[in-house]
Structures are given as C-alpha cells and as structure tokens.
C-alpha cells in the first residue's frame, strides 16, 4: 500500500516528463496519455481510500519513507509521505476534479497546437499538488508548494504570446514568492526551535513548546499565515488571482478555484496544533479570512468579466475557509468540508463559464452575453446548479458547508464570534447578489452579443460532450456532496482523528443561524433581480458609484501595488544602477584617474633642463644631509 502512495505522485510526474520532453511525435496522443495518467492516479487514490476505510479511525494514517533528501548534521530533510484522512480528502479532490478537467480540456484545447504541452503542465501540477498534500514534513511540502506555483505560472502564461498573460503569470509567481518567504522562515524557525520540521516532530511538541517559546510558536503561526495568504490569494496578497484568469479556463477551474488556491487552507489545518498553541496567530487568521471574504465578494459584484467575477467569488469563498480554519478545532472540519464542496461547484461554474466562452468565441464580458439559456441548455443547467450550490440554496452542498462555518463563527463566542458571524452572514448575502447577477447577465435577459475583433458574429452552441460530461459530473457533486457529508456528520468523524473537533457553544442556535442565512440569501437575490432581472442590462458598463468603480479596480489594491511597489521599485533600481556606476565604480575609476592626474603633474618636473635636474639633485643632497644629521640629533 505504501508504495502506492509513491505511485500516486509518480504517475502524473511521469506524464509531465514524457509530455514535456517527448517532442512533436506526441502531439497526436499526448493529451490522452496525460488524461490517462491522471485517471490512473485517481484510481490509486480510490484504492487507497477503500483500503483506508477498511481500517478503524486512528489506524488509518499511512507513512512511507523514500530517501533522505538533504542530510547535513542536524538538518535532515527526508522525502517521505504521510497519507491520513486529511491528505486523503485532498488526494481524491485533486485527482478527481483533476481528471475531469483533463477530460474537459481535451475538448477545450482541441484547436491549440501546443495542447501536448498544456497537458504536460496539468500533469506537472497534479504531481506537485499531490506532493504538497502528501508530504510528511514541511520542507517537502515546501517543494510541492513551489511546484504548484511553477505549474500555475506556466499555465497562467500558457498563451505567452499575449503580453497580458505573460505579465499575469509573472505577477502570480512573484506574489506567491512573497508568501513563500513566510513558509521558508517558518521552516527555519521550526528547525531552530524543534531541531526538525517533520509533522511528527513539530506538531506534537507545539503545545508544550508554546509554554517556553511562546513568541517563537506565534511567529511560526504568523509566517504560515503569510504563506497561506500568498497561495490562497488572501488579503493582502490576493491581487494576483484576478489576473490569473488570463490562463485557459480549465486552469482557472482546476488550479485557481478547486485545488491550488485552497493549499493555504490545507497548510493552516495541517498546522492546527501550532495555531491552537498560538491564539494571537489564530486571531490574525480569522481576521484575514473575514476581511477577504467580504473583499472578494465586493470585487465579485463589480466585475463584468465573467471569470473575474468568479475569481472574486473564489477569493471570498476561500476567505470563508481560512476564517473557519482560524477558528481552531471548531472550524477545521468545516473549512475542509467547504473546501471540498466549493471544489465541486466552483470548478463546475468555471467549466460552465469556459463552455459559454467557447460558444461565444472567447468573449468574457457578461454585458455581451444574455439569453444564452436557450442556446446552451446543459451548460445552463449545470451552471445553474453550481449557482444554487454556491449561494447556499437549501439542500445543495454549499448550504451545508457554508451554514456550518457561519455557526462555527458564532460559536467562537464573545464579541469576536459576533463580528465574525455577522461578517460571514453579510458575505452570504453579497454572494447571493453577485452570483445572481452573473446568472442573470449571462443566461437571461435579451441578447447583447457583439461581433469579436475579427468581426465574427458569435453563434452560441452547446459544447462537445468531452466538455459537458465533466460539467454534469461536477454538477452532481455540487448538488449532493454537502448532504452526503453532513448526514450524521460523517465528514466530522472522518477528519476528527487528524484535526480534532469541538462543538464550541454557540450563543445562537443552529436554527436561527440557518434562518438568518436564508434571509440574507433572499435579500441578496432579490436586490440582484431588481437591478439586473427587471431592468435591461446596458451593453456598456455605467460609470457606477465610487464603490463600484473602486471594486472594478479590485478596490484599488492593484493601483496601490503599482504606485508603491512597482513604481517605487523601478525608481529604487534605477537609482541603484546609477549609484553602482557613479559611486561604487566611480571610486575605483576615480582612484585610477587621480593617480593618472598626479602622474601628469609629476611629469612636468621632468622639464628637460639639465640645470633644473641639477637643482633637484642638490636639493636631494641637502635633504639627505639634513635628514642624516637630524637622525643623529633625535
């Protein structure tokens, strides 16, 4: 069984290797090979899952040590895997959704001559992501962490000939690097504190370490949070996610909705022990989560680009998860649960969006959609189900997972609990609003289609089955996953051994919370219908309120980055380049020059007149005599 874990990672890795080095001869079959290997990896996962279910709760974790990576005295980095319930959940999500998206991409990328490479990158991503969730120590996790970063870089920038894409890719990688500082510093802190960075060594010790090394443990917590912010696009490192939509839609669905961006949640949940030991860090986490869930939601309301709108929503949904994870044992389970359900419906939504774009020759502006439900029914239905799921329509998966998080938020207790809970509720309302907006602008109302750049009139049509089937499957997931998990709280029992779970005492009963959520939902949908359902949508975006305009610009976050970081950085480097030339180099050249000048002046003494030479000799002698006498004198 242990070896199977290795294969789990090896399969897609192999795929990546073959596809990327294989050359043209694989162009015909490459995508199939990629999909196959992804599927294979899913099968391995499934086998392991079944095998795991066979064992009883606390015996389920599997460990397999491959080899020692970096052995330097105290610093012993191992390459070893740990497959427990938490990792297993992710494995299934990643390989499952991953495979679906491979299938979807076969159709979606059919006309791209670099499709082979696309699948190579996808496989690379799967491998890295699996490494991330299977690693049994933070150092190896770090490798996976940066690996997914690379994959995301390559895939966002897949259409490199588009400068916007290339820029977005670069931005994503660099912002992520900022987060990575957090992770590496955290690892260093662990090494200097615990003398190791393996889960098995660090997590158990975290609690009593905080007794003596409280500051350090808190520090580790904050650093991990920083890492999470980078990867999961949380405030203040969220700016890259919107631009990341430059990538092909399947990528957005897989990496920037379902899996990679949730790595932060995984990291925090995995490091639960540390956060439990560092309350301050937890507070920071929930704050970030709460802020982001509102931030993302607001941004989502203003975007006319369907993918950007969805990106905003992703941000906000992950905000929910982070917040939940920050709540500690009360929330870990629900964070993961929402993560999984979100994986289903958000992937579904993105694929839907992709299918729409596919039909509308890659138009992304929702103001140029409208009334598409008749033309692409399957897309409409699957997208619709996803929509209902995300706004938390009773009975669908989103309803269960999000509801739990809101409850947990209140259960945190105290004013903190109230604030978080209300924030979550408000978020729910806004979610309902912008999702409805998307729904209405895309599928309802009158046609607002426009010819594209080349002047082709769009002929909306349903996408090929290779694309619709995954959408349908995901739709099923988004409908039933929630119920499936929540039924006599299966999911809680499943994860409890790893994350631990505590109910907490909610000041408000579950019933009231649900009711409140419903109210918010109705309000949100209602407003949206009033604005976009009743009135017709202008093909050109109105100027809109100040907030709207700010939201369109990601609440000016990019402008801030541009002015402070980019411009500032440019100025800094330009100054340094100048200084390096004029100052550092100048000193050296200056010395040389001054020697030259001195030489030039001394030359003049050699004026060619014998008599002046004689003078110098006489003077020299005089000095010599004087000096000699002086020496004797002193």
């Amino acid at each position: 069984m242990e070896t199977l874990i290795g294969l789990l990672v090896a399969a897609p890795l192999l795929g990546a290797g073959v596809l990327l080095t294989g050359g043209r001869r694989l162009d015909r079959t490459g995508h199939l090979l990629g999909t196959l290997l992804s599927l294979l990896s899913f099968v391995f996962g499934a086998v392991l899952f079944v095998n795991m279910l066979g064992k009883d709760a606390d015996q389920r974790a599997l460990h397999s040590h491959l080899f020692t990576w970096v052995p330097v005295d105290g610093f012993q980095a191992q390459v070893g895997f740990q497959l427990d319930q938490l990792s297993m959940t992710f494995v299934l999500l990643i390989t499952g959704v991953g495979t679906l998206i491979h299938v979807y991409s076969i159709g979606y990328m059919a006309h791209d001559e670099r499709r082979r490479r696309f699948f190579g990158y996808l496989n690379l991503f799967l491998a890295a992501m699996l490494l991330l969730v299977l690693a049994d120590n933070y150092f190896l996790l770090y490798a996976g962490w940066e690996g997914v970063g690379l994959a995301s870089y390559l895939l966002i920038g897949f259409w490199q000939h588009k400068p916007s894409a290339a820029t977005a890719a670069k931005k994503a990688f660099i912002v992520n690097r900022v987060g990575d500082i957090g992770l590496s510093v955290a690892i260093m802190l662990m090494f200097t504190t615990f003398g190791s960075f393996a889960f098995a060594d660090v997590l158990p010790k975290a609690q009593d370490a905080s007794a003596t090394q409280h500051a350090t443990v808190t520090g580790i917590g904050f650093m991990l949070l920083l890492a999470a912010c980078g990867k999961s696009a949380q405030v203040p490192l969220q700016s890259w996610l919107g631009d990341a939509m430059e990538g092909p839609t399947p990528v957005s669905a897989l990496i920037h909705a379902a899996t990679m961006v949730t790595a932060g949640v995984y990291l925090i949940t995995r490091s639960g022990a540390i956060f439990n030991a560092a309350p301050d860090a937890q507070t920071a986490v929930v704050t970030v989560g709460a802020v982001t869930l509102l931030f993302g939601a607001i941004v989502g309301c203003a975007k006319d680009d369907i993918k950007k709108a969805l990106a905003g929503s992703t941000m906000s949904q992950i905000g929910y998860m982070i917040m939940a994870a920050g709540l500690g044992p009360i929330g870990y389970v629900f964070a993961i649960m929402h993560l999984v359900t979100h994986g289903f419906f958000k992937a579904g939504l993105f694929l839907g969006a992709g299918s729409v774009m596919h039909g509308m020759n890659d138009e992304v502006d929702m103001r140029r959609y409208g009334g598409l439900r008749k033309y692409m029914p399957i897309t409409f239905i699957t997208f619709g189900l996803g929509y209902l799921a995300i706004i938390g329509f009773p009975g669908l998966s989103g309803f269960f997972s999000k509801d739990k998080i809101i409850e947990a938020a209140y259960a945190k207790g105290g004013t903190e609990g109230w604030i978080l809970g209300s924030a979550a509720l408000l978020g729910a309302a806004i979610t309902a609003f912008y999702m409805t907006r998307v729904m209405l602008m895309t599928f309802f109302g009158e046609k607002r289609w426009q010819p594209d750049a080349e002047g082709h009139e769009p002929h909306p049509h349903e996408s090929p089955s290779s694309m619709t089937i995954p959408m349908i499957i995901l739709a099923f997931g988004s409908v039933f996953a929630g119920a499936l998990f929540s039924l006599n709280s299966r999911f809680v029992h499943w994860l409890e051994p790893v994350t631990g779970h505590s109910e907490g005492d909610s000041p408000v009963s579950a019933g009231t919370v649900t009711a409140a959520t419903m109210v918010c939902l109705v309000i949100g949908v209602g407003i949206a219908w009033l604005m976009y359902g009743r009135r017709s949508v202008p093909a050109v975006a109105p100027r809109g309120s100040l907030l709207t305009r700010a939201a369109r610009r990601d609440l000016l976050q990019d402008d801030f980055n541009h002015v402070v970081l980019v411009r500032g950085g440019e100025h800094l480097t330009r100054t340094l380049v100048y200084l390096d030339h004029s100052l550092v180099d100048g000193v050296v050249n200056g010395t040389a020059a001054s020697v030259g000048g001195l030489s030039g002046r001394l030359r003049k003494l050699q004026n060619g007149y014998v008599r002046s030479y004689a003078v110098s000799m006489l003077g020299g002698t005089a000095v010599l005599v004087a000096a000699t006498l002086l020496m004797r004198a002193v």
Partner: protein, 529 residues
C-alpha cells in the same frame, strides 16, 4: 611514492594547452578536438580523484609534497579535502561544456595572416586556466596557492580581452574598447587584491619564521604547530594578515563593494568565457576563504564575521536589485551572480555546518546553473547579434526549446525546489538563520528579487509577440543541445539527490568548524532542557 594523481590532473590540461597552441593555423578543427579531448581526460582524472577520496579518511588526501623554493619556504604540497575534490570535479566537468559552447566563438572572421591563430589560442587559454584553477584547489601550501591564484589572471585576461562576443551595440570599434577596458579592469582589480595578499603572505612567512625558526607556508605544518601551541599569532598581526588574505578573495569572489569588475568582464566576454569567470575562477575566491581565511586565522575570522556577514547580505540584495535594473542580458546574469556569491559568503561565515556545507554545495550548483543559463543566453545572443533585452521578444514562439532551456536555467537561478540551487540556498539560509536570525530573514528577501529578475528577463525576451529580428531565429542545434541537456539533467539530479556531494563535503566542513572552534547552535527546545 604513490601515483601523483593530483599533479597529473593539473598537468594534463596544461600539456593540452601547449599542444593545442602548437596546432598549425590551418587546422582549427583539429585544435578544437585536441583541446576537448584533453579536457575530457581531465574530467576522467577528476572523477577518479572523486572516487578515490574517502570521506571518512584523513582531512587531506591524495597528498603530495616536494620542496620547491627552499629560501621562500615554498613547498609543492598538494592535497584535497571533500570541498576541494568536489570543486575540482565541478571545474573539470564544466570545461568541456564551455569549449563545446564556444566552439565557433574564436574562429577568425577572415584569414588575416598565418601567424595569428585565435582559435588555437582560445582553447589553449581555457585549458591553461583549468590547469591553474585545479592547482589552486589542490594546493595546501599557502604560497603555492598564491602563485596560481595570481598566475591564473593572465590567461583569463587574454580570454576576456581577446575574445569578446561580436554582438555589440556600439559596433566593432566600441566593442574592442569596452572589451579591453573590461579586461584591464578585471586584471587590475584582481592584481591589486593579489598584491595586498602578497604582503600578507610575506607577513605570514615572517611570523612563522619568527616563531618556528624556519618560515613555512604549509597548511598542515602551520595547523599542526598551532595545535601543538608552538605557533601563536598576535591578535593584531592575525587580523592584519586575515584582512590581507580576505581582501584578495573578496575581490575575486566578488563581494560588495568590490564587485564592479564582474559585470564588465562578464558583459564584454563571450558567454563561455563569462561562465569560466563566474562558475570556475571566482569559485577559487570563496573556496580560499573557506580553506585559508578560516583555517589560518580562526580568531580573526570570528572577529571580522559581523562585518563580512553584513557585506554578504548587502551583496545579496544589492546584486539582485541591480540585476532587476539591467538592460543587458549578460550584465543581468553577472549581477545575479554577485547576489549568489553573497549567499555563498554568507554561508561560509555563518560558521554553521548547514551554512558551510550549503555554501560548498552552492558553489557547485551555482556553477552548473549559471553555466546553463549563461550558455543558453550566449546562443540567444549570437543568434540575434545583440545583448540588449529590448531587442528580444516572443522567442518562445520561434525557438521553443531554446526558450524552455532558458527558463529552466532561470528557474534554477531563482532556486526553485527540485533544482539543485534550492537545496544549497536553503541550507545557507537555515545555517545563517540559526545563528543570525535577522540577517537570515533579510537574505530570504533575496528569493523574491531573484524571482523578479529572472521572470522579468524571461518575459521580456521570450514571451509576447515575436519582435522584428527574431522571426527567423533557429532553435537549438544538436551541439548546443548537447551542451545544455546534461547540465539541466545534473541540475535536476542534484536537486533531488544531493546526498552524494553532502556526504563528501560534511566531514571537511566539520574540520573547518573545529578549526574555528564553532559548533552548531542547539535547537531552542533541547537547549532549554
């Protein structure tokens, strides 16, 4: 006396140089193959040495010792520890690639006259440099080391000044001017450093002569004498001597603010020569810090550590920032190297086993990764006939393989996990952090900047719409692929499995650390107990 493996390892390339130079003008290709052959022979010898080296054996192995110039206390003493033998292997490994990459760089444009034989000269000089570098890695006699450390400059100087790349904005005239400026700058910088060191070397002799009766430069003798308490350098003297040595090495390494020769030298010389500078020759500097500064003057080293560490961190950030600001591909890579050398020096003077093993590993990895990046950049530049980033764009569309390899080289340079440099960089950072947390964190910022300059470079040159002058660009040829592929393979292998090297290096690092009486700091928790 056993087979003098080390001597032979150095003599083979030297002989190769002579023979290559002797090949008649008309037989250019013959000369090239001769040179390549000898470099490969050297590689074999180096590998033999690597295999024969026993990590758990004596500190210095394969030793040879003969009197040379009695009056100067100069002995021909060779010996390698784990660090040296690894670096020799690196050198021997890189040279063939350098040659292959520079296969046509030195072909005379037109047959000017029969006596002027640039091609022969180019390859002969490369072999000569190799011989001297290898010897300076092997020398365990301070003076012997100094001799080759200095002599190495001359062939390097001719390589830089004589064979700049033909791609230059300012035209042939300007190119020649810039080139000789760079060459002179390189030589004078390093000569100045060397001469300062000479004073220190003489000082060392005087000290040993005073205290041991006979002046000596032999590392073993000096260490032994100090161990036996026979030799005890006065604090001030030791500090002065240390500074004398360190200055020379800091110039060679190069350490901020003594770095300004590097961008010129690397910018003006052909890519293979640039690789020779940064990947091979400069390593002698950092290596010498590890072998001579720390071992000869442990107390002074500890005394100077704070300043040096700060300078190293400055180098890291400063080099990276300047790399971001460059308009010229090669200068960009040069500044990136400045940043990397900062890491190496940081690791050495952090005085932890992680730091120093990391630093050694870093020397190797940086050698390979820079070689990969720089050589591909060289192919790119020769194709376009320009070094300016602005002249490129959309290369990946016309030459995907070239772009791919370039990206991998870049990713190695920004030390992505899975590629070799990551391991060493992280080791250095951890090693530093465990003793100097603040510096460690500041240095960590370097990884963001690295990402910045690499990806910006890639974006500007490779992505976007295809620029004018790029349309017809050919993808990598077989020879070029033969250069790049092995390097990349090596990067991947060492990224995933650096153990073979760390196993050889670790014991030597322990020796060095015990010289400076330093032990790794204990983890906080254990310390508490």
């Amino acid at each position: 006396m056993s087979f003098p493996l080390l001597t032979v390892t150095a003599v083979v390339p030297a002989a190769g140089a002579v023979i290559t130079a002797a090949v008649p003008a008309a037989r250019k290709t013959a000369a090239k193959y001769t040179a390549l052959l000898f470099s490969l022979a050297t590689l074999v010898l180096a590998i033999v040495a690597l295999v024969r080296f026993d990590p758990d054996g004596d500190r210095y192995q394969l030793t040879e010792s003969h009197a040379w110039i009695k009056d100067f206390g100069l002995r021909y003493e060779l010996g390698v520890d784990g660090i040296a033998v690894t670096l020799i292997a690196l050198t021997a490994l890189l040279i063939p690639f350098v040659m292959l990459a520079g296969w046509h760089d030195a072909d005379p444009l037109e047959d000017t006259n029969r006596r002027w034989r640039p091609t022969q000269g180019f390859f002969a000089l490369i072999l000569l440099v190799e011989a001297m570098v290898v010897l300076s890695f092997e020398a365990t006699d301070v003076f012997l080391f100094y001799i080759f450390f200095e002599a190495m400059l001359i062939p390097m100087y001719f390589l830089i000044g004589g064979f700049g790349d033909r791609a230059h904005a300012g035209g042939e005239e300007e190119a020649a001017r810039q080139r000789s400026y760079a060459a002179v700058k390189f030589l004078l910088y390093n000569l100045a450093g060397g001469l300062i060191m000479l004073a220190a070397v003489i000082g060392l002799y005087t000290v040993t002569a005073d205290q041991l009766g006979t002046g000596t430069f032999s590392l073993q003798e000096i260490l032994a004498a100090r161990g036996a308490g026979k030799l005890d350098i006065a604090t001030d003297t030791e500090r002065w001597l240390f500074l004398g040595f360190f200055f020379a090495f800091a110039v060679k390494a190069p350490l901020w603010p003594l770095h300004t020769w590097l961008p010129n030298a690397m910018g003006e010389s052909t890519a293979p020569v640039a690789v020779l500078i940064t990947a091979v020759v400069d390593k002698v500097g950092t290596f010498a810090m590890l072998r001579f500064c720390l071992q000869l003057f442990p107390d002074a080293s500890k005394w100077a550590t704070p300043v040096i560490l700060v300078l190293a961190v400055i180098s890291i950030i400063y080099g990276a920032l300047l790399a971001v600001g460059q308009r010229d591909i090669k200068r960009l890579i040069a500044y990136a190297s400045v940043s990397h050398f900062g890491f190496i020096i940081l690791g050495i003077f952090a005085m932890t086993s992680q730091g120093q093993s990391g630093a050694t590993l870093y020397m190797v990895n940086h050698g390979i990764s820079t070689a990969a990046l720089m050589l591909v950049a060289g192919f790119l530049i020769t194709r376009r006939g320009s070094r300016l980033i602005a002249d490129f764009g959309g290369v990946q569309k016309v030459a995907p393989v070239l772009a791919g390899t370039f990206l991998i080289g870049g990713l190695a340079t920004l030390s992505l996990p899975g590629l070799a440099p990551f391991v060493s960089e992280f080791l250095v950072l951890v090693g530093t952090f465990s003793r100097y947390p603040v510096l460690g964190i500041i240095a960590t910022l370097g990884i963001v900047l690295a990402a910045l300059y690499v990806l910006v470079l890639y974006q500007r040159t490779m992505t976007g719409p295809v620029k004018a002058g790029i349309e017809g660009m050919a993808d990598l040829k077989a020879r070029e692929l033969l250069v790049v592929a092995p390097l990349i393979a090596l990067l991947l292998f060492l990224g995933v499995y650096p153990k073979p090297i760390t196993d050889i290096v670790n014991p030597s690092v322990h020796h060095t650390l015990s010289d400076v009486h330093k032990t790794d700091p204990k983890p906080a928790l254990e310390a508490k107990k």
